[in-house]
Amino acid sequence: MRKICLTVVGMYLMLLHAFSQVAPGDSSSYKPRKLKLEEVNLVSSYYTQSGDHSAILGGIGSEKVTDLANGLELKWVGMDGRLRKNTLTAGMGVDHHTAASQAWISKTGASRRTDGLRLYPSLNWTIENEKKGNSFGLGGYYSNEFNYQSLGLTAGFTQKTKNNGEFGLKLSGYFDRVKLIFPSEFEPAGYSGNNLAGGRDHPQYPSSPRETYTASFSFSQVINSRLQATFLMDLVEQQGYLGLPFHRVYFTDATDSVEKLPSHRFKLPIGVRLNYFLGDRIILRSYFRYYIDDWGLRSGTASLELPFKITPFFSISPFYRYYIQSAVNYFAPYGQHKSADHFYSSNYSLSAFSSHFFGSGIRLSPPNGVFNSKLSALEIRYGHYTQTTDLVSDIISLNLTFK
């Protein structure tokens, strides 16, 4: 944890140093120029959660989790010889979590480590032709944590219409590896000789692939001088090992096994955002989503945020989000699956529930920067989340934008 804090402080000092060498510029000028650092974003969050339906213990047991997430994003902008705007964005994220349930990967609750670190760098390049109103982008993403590696590739295209609209298409593929860390009682015999009280540190665990392919479609439209909307649709195809090897399931006959889910999943979420500027001070930011997949899960999401501008540069934004879902066909609570079932899971994120998420944020973005500094915007958000499964969580986030 101390290392992460020092890393974040170090990154912060580095970017302050970098900005001390950079004069402010105008990114909209139509003259060729080299890439120049124009924006830096720092996002930090602290998340805490409690509940009593841990999937590691088959749907019972503590779900206590804390997570400290820090992300740094640097954006360079330049114009090439054909007067196209080039934007290069590099990101680096570092998360540190603790999870009480991880101790129970060992049957006796003695797994050595109950914390973990995730590192996730990313790189995106976009070329925008302002004359033609289109843009093309490529991106790469990598994530590494103790039992999971992920490599992501994206390609995107947008085209503006004559009537203040914009079509967007983004294709992405994630190529993941799930390390096969089973609960201690299901570990292959060869592993037991070197088992470090739960086995997570065994160097020779095999892994299994998980692939996710997504095609994202969007259409945005300015409807009038106060209202704009965007329609969104994703087609998501997943294949490979889609459960997690250390999730237990307890059957009606008191035996247990490891979660077993189909190796294929198709997801279809569709959504709309509608933003409306009401009067001179209030904005209505709304979002609706309907989701369906071939595991039998249906869900609906509705959220509304009301930024209230106390001054043109300072706003308070209360928000509320409602979410409801049905269970997948393969879910049953602790001790209710039959051992003859073909697929089974007691992971409560796949159960039927509804949730409420509410909170508020503040945003400060004075024209000369916060306290006349390079810090152009400061945003803080707090949210409280409750599920009908009794899971409760809180998250506080900070976003600093330097220009």
Binding site: D67, Q238, K267, Y291, S315, R381
Partner: protein, 77 residues
């Protein structure tokens, strides 16, 4: 739990929005976009929402069309 009927209702709502809103579009000149161009009118998530979307995608069965994760990362704690 009525999710199917609520989903059907939401689908009708989305289609209704598409059918009724887009014909209502009126031409908006660049000089009329001072409100549309306000930072908080952006049709994307706030950067400060990024980790909220991550935890929601891990704790809920549905994900997508909100800039949140649709793949990559375990969230298995």
């Amino acid at each position: 739990m009525g999710t199917k009927s609520s989903g059907r209702g939401l689908s009708f709502f989305l289609c209704g929005l598409a059918v009724f809103i887009f014909p209502c579009c009126s031409p908006v000149k660049e000089y009329q976009k001072n409100r549309i161009n306000d930072a908080e009118m952006s049709l994307s998530n706030r950067k400060a929402e990024r980790n909220e979307l991550n935890f929601q995608s891990y704790r809920e069965g549905a994900a997508g069309v909100n800039g949140g994760k649709t793949g990559g990362g375990c969230g298995c704690n």
